[in-house]
């Protein structure tokens, strides 16, 4: 659902007059949802997006930094995520561990997440706490201050996180292999969490450099959504952010993943009772015109119990316990993945064969009008269901602005989905869901060794 575009770098631009765009998200056949987004750029390049919604006396405050694991290099993998942890370790006016403590004592919750292209911090608070959120976020953006001691103990916490998510989790381990194999040259090659030996080797100095380079106001977007008045919010923003200096724009990622020339396969041997497998295909970056028919194909194949793959693998053949598939659309060319868990008495070979047959059917014959409409109805409902809370709205707006370069692209999406034809679906399935473009990771269950051997 996302599109890549030039990243808006507004360094040195004047504060723009607030531009209010009232946008109808959906044409009449897609319902009547709309909301207003205000966009403001400070002199130092900080972008501020405001979404007023007075239905609940609460706000969501999010800071989106345009840096993720793809901005790392071998030896420093995982540093973006490590920095995210350290952002809770204190700054000029906020002591270590105080950030969340203050938020919670004010009736709020907060957290942060790191992804391939972005690092996002958020707080959800009662509506009279906007000033508090802006104070806390601006303080750590301006003056992060980490002691060697808290750096060392947090490194252990990050290592535990890796053991939990990746090393001791079957699907975590499989997804890491998939990423390692699917991207050879591009930095999506490694997991967001990073390799264990890199986490171990990263120094406080490395983290400081990463912070200086990427956490400048001109590389960040603040998104405020919920129950507030935009004019008052902007006064708060000016108070806390105006004196923050901008920085030279960070280097962009120039590596282009070379074309895959044939199927790649890997096995993961782990102690387990039932096998499973993941299939990945390279697809274009978010916003590429082929993404829209690929998203439609993903709905036809995987969404709901009437989807082709559910019907075939789970309901009819009874080979699989679960199937999950989606187009992962990110800033650089992304991934279409399928995860299948196999039932007792069946094999991954049977599962793969049935899965590929279902995919091939989409290549040989256009889907019916009704099926096409069904997929579009699903996309419409997903879109609306995803706007129920302040934080959901903020996340969408922040994602489009940071990753695709302009939040308003979000409002063009429905028309692009509406325009997808059955022939488009055939074309993109032939082009991308092709054996030569495929990477497969199989979980091979191993029995535990007999005790005493």
């Amino acid at each position: 659902m996302f599109r890549t575009g030039p990243i808006r770098k507004s360094v040195g631009s004047k504060l723009l007059f607030p531009i209010f765009l009232t946008i109808f998200l959906f044409s009449s056949s897609w319902g009547e949802v709309f909301f207003e987004v205000g966009k403001h750029v400070l002199d130092n390049g900080l972008t501020v997006l405001t979404v007023e919604d007075h239905s609940t006396p609460a706000i969501s405050y999010q800071v989106w930094y345009h840096v993720g694991s793809k901005n790392e290099r071998p030896g420093l993998t995982g540093i973006s995520h490590f920095l995210e942890h350290l952002m809770f370790k204190g700054s000029e006016n906020v002591k270590a561990e105080e950030h969340s403590k203050i938020i919670q004592a004010n009736g709020g919750v907060d957290n942060a997440w790191t992804w391939l292209d972005n690092t996002t911090y958020w707080e959800n608070l009662p509506s009279d706490k906007l000033d508090l959120a802006a104070f806390l976020e601006s303080d750590r953006q301006r003056s992060l201050s980490i002691s060697q001691e808290s750096f060392d103990s947090e490194k252990e916490v990050v290592k535990e996180e890796r053991r939990w998510r990746t090393d001791n989790d079957l699907y975590g381990a499989m997804f890491e292999q998939l990423q390692n194999l699917l991207w050879v040259a591009h930095p999506y090659h490694w997991e967001v969490i990073g390799f264990m030996s890199d986490i171990e080797a990263i120094t406080l100095e490395d983290v400081r450099e990463h912070y200086e380079r990427y956490y400048a106001p001109n590389n960040a977007t603040v998104v405020i959504s919920g129950d507030f008045k935009t004019e008052e919010a902007l006064n708060v923003i000016h108070k806390y952010y105006d004196d923050m200096p901008s920085q030279p724009p960070p280097p962009s990622v120039t590596t282009v993943e070379p074309e895959q020339l044939g199927e790649r396969r890997a096995d993961v041997h782990k102690i387990a009772q039932l096998p499973s497998f993941i299939v990945g295909y390279h697809i274009p970056e978010g916003g590429h015109p082929d993404i829209y028919p690929l998203e439609v194909a993903a709905r036809i194949l995987f969404t709901g119990q009437s989807s082709h793959v559910y019907q075939r693998l789970i309901y009819q053949d009874q080979i699989a316990t679960f199937v999950d598939g989606a187009a992962l659309t990110i800033e650089d060319p992304g991934l279409f993945y399928i995860l299948v868990g196999i039932q007792s008495g069946h094999t991954t070979e049977e599962g793969e064969k049935a899965l590929y047959e279902e995919i091939d059917k989409l290549k040989s014959e256009p889907v019916t009008e009704k099926e096409l409409q069904k997929a579009k109805n699903q996309l419409e409902a997903e879109f609306i269901f995803d706007l129920e809370s302040n934080s959901d709205k903020g996340e969408w707006v922040g994602y489009y602005e940071t990753i695709l370069g302009d939040y308003s692209i979000m409002f063009e999406e429905p028309a692009k989905y509406q325009a997808v034809t059955a022939e488009d679906v055939v074309r993109v399935c032939k082009r991308y869901l092709d054996k030569k473009n495929r990477t497969v990771v199989t979980l091979i269950p191993e029995s535990p060794p007999e005790p005493g051997t």
Binding site: W113, D128, E160, K270, Q305, K374
Partner: protein, 465 residues
């Protein structure tokens, strides 16, 4: 890799009061959404909450009977019965139901927890009739065809085996089994391989006939609707539902825990140990609910708890640690759960048990209590943002009979808790000397460490039910 790498946050140290903590004035004017209710002549209670923010409607039908009523040896019956509802009715095949709900981009699902069965449906408002028709059809006319039962049983058994490959799941299931003995809470909600194999069409039909009754049900509709229309349409579809008497179950007592009981589940390729320990807790109607919630928030119920501060922040032993009271109609567990690398499993357990002891013996500070109250006070409105959240809050009051002023008085009741009450419940409900421990790990790495706590029973992970 598709998981976002969320950070579980922590905090502590002396708080500089930069902002006035107690005063979340915005919360003061919270009005609960008005609830319109009506009871049909067959006893079905219908609740409607108008929520016009988005063109969405959420239906939630609750039967006030859940997995606690699974007969002995038939664990998983409540859940399988619910799961089968959308696998065919007298009017539609399983595939037709799937096709109908998928075509409008909606969701329709059913499942049971310990105390209730939920059938939920969510659609865009323009598909209100489709959603309600499907909901009514699956609840009123399920076919329970043999073929569908066999298919779903096979799938559920396989998925249960697959879930046991996840140490986070094994530790939870095995902890319940150790703590609850013959009590039905010992079993996973989905049942066990053995119990699922024993379930047949008669069991399912009997469970349905006994408990799927309008006088045992509540239908809650939240969203972009007009209550008058909803009542009309609901009563048209649900009036045919016949009321009935339903059996009450009695429950065996869980075995008492005295001293430490330690079970080590061996999965020899793990480099991290999953740990869960605790003892029997309280039921949802316990009069000490409010002081308990505050006490647990301070102990291990939040990202700024004592357990997080000690085990994660100070010692760097884990990425996450929580404690909680699972409150059902029957008393549930009090438990602490965490994970750490194998060579620090004992250290993490000892540090956590020490925190149980500290809160029990030393109580909490005024400052901690003030912050905990301030959190619940301020956060209250944030729990009513979406139609589903609203339905969940309101149905909770109904299922557990919390009274009609429960939500109105929630913050008042939280606010008036005293430090003496919090310290009293810590002494009363936290028992650091009588604990059940389950650790899922590589036994070779941790067994001798755990033996410092007491005798350790080791089982291979493939042997657990």
């Amino acid at each position: 890799m598709t998981k976002r790498t969320h950070k579980i946050i922590v905090a502590l140290l002396a708080l500089t009061l930069l902002f006035n903590l107690g005063a979340t004035e915005a919360g003061e004017e919270i009005k609960l959404p008005p609830i319109k209710s009506k009871t049909l002549s067959n006893g079905l209670e219908v609740l409607v909450i108008e929520h016009h923010e988005l063109p969405v409607v959420a239906f939630r039908l609750v039967l006030k009977t859940g997995a606690a009523y699974d007969p002995e040896g038939k664990a998983g019956l409540a859940n399988l019965t619910a799961d089968l509802l959308r696998k065919g009715t007298k009017n539609r095949s399983a595939t037709e139901i799937a096709e109908a709900i998928d075509f409008v981009g909606g969701s329709l699902s059913a499942g049971a927890n310990r105390d209730a069965t939920f059938v939920t449906c969510k659609v865009l408002e323009k598909y209100f009739d489709t959603g309600l028709d499907l909901l009514a059809d699956v609840v009123l006319n399920p076919a329970f065809a043999e073929e569908e039962i066999d298919r779903l049983k096979g799938q559920t058994v396989s998925s249960l085996i697959q879930q046991k490959d996840d140490p986070n799941v094994v530790v939870r299931w095995e902890f319940n089994r150790q703590l609850f003995g013959e009590h039905p809470f010992a079993n996973p909600l989905v049942g066990t391989v053995k119990s699922l194999e024993s379930l047949n069409q008669d069991d399912i039909a009997r469970f349905y006939k006994s408990f799927y009754r309008p006088n045992n049900a509540i239908l809650c509709v939240v969203g972009d609707v007009k209550s008058k229309d909803v009542f009309k349409k609901v009563s048209r579809r649900f009036s045919v539902w016949k009321k009935g008497g339903f059996p009450k179950a009695s429950f065996p007592s869980p075995p008492p825990v005295s001293g430490y009981r330690i079970l080590l589940v061996d999965k020899p390729d793990l480099t991290q140990s999953n740990i869960k320990f605790g003892h029997l807790g309280v039921d949802r109607s316990n009069p000490d609910y409010f002081p308990l919630v505050l006490m647990n928030y301070i102990l291990g119920g939040s990202f700024v708890s004592r357990l997080v501060n000690v085990v994660r922040v100070e010692k760097g032993l884990t990425y996450g640690i929580w404690s909680w009271f699972e409150m059902n109609k029957q008393p549930g567990a009090f438990a602490v759960t965490t994970f750490t690398r194998n060579d620090s499993a004992l250290k993490a357990i000892e540090a956590s048990v020490q925190e149980l002891r500290r809160i029990r013996e030393g109580g909490v500070t005024e400052e901690e209590l003030k912050e905990a109250k301030s959190f619940y006070r301020g956060y209250f409105p944030l729990r009513f943002e979406t139609p589903e959240q609203i339905a969940t809050r309101i149905l909770e009051t109904k299922i557990y009979g919390l009274g009609k002023n429960y939500l109105r008085d929630y913050r008042k009741n939280m606010d008036k808790v005293t430090i003496e009450e919090v310290n009293r419940v810590a002494r009363k409900y936290i028992g650091p000397d009588n604990l059940v421990f389950v650790v899922v790990s590589k036994a070779e790495d941790v067994k001798s460490d755990l033996e410092k706590l007491g005798p350790v029973e080791v089982v291979p992970y493939t042997a657990i039910e």
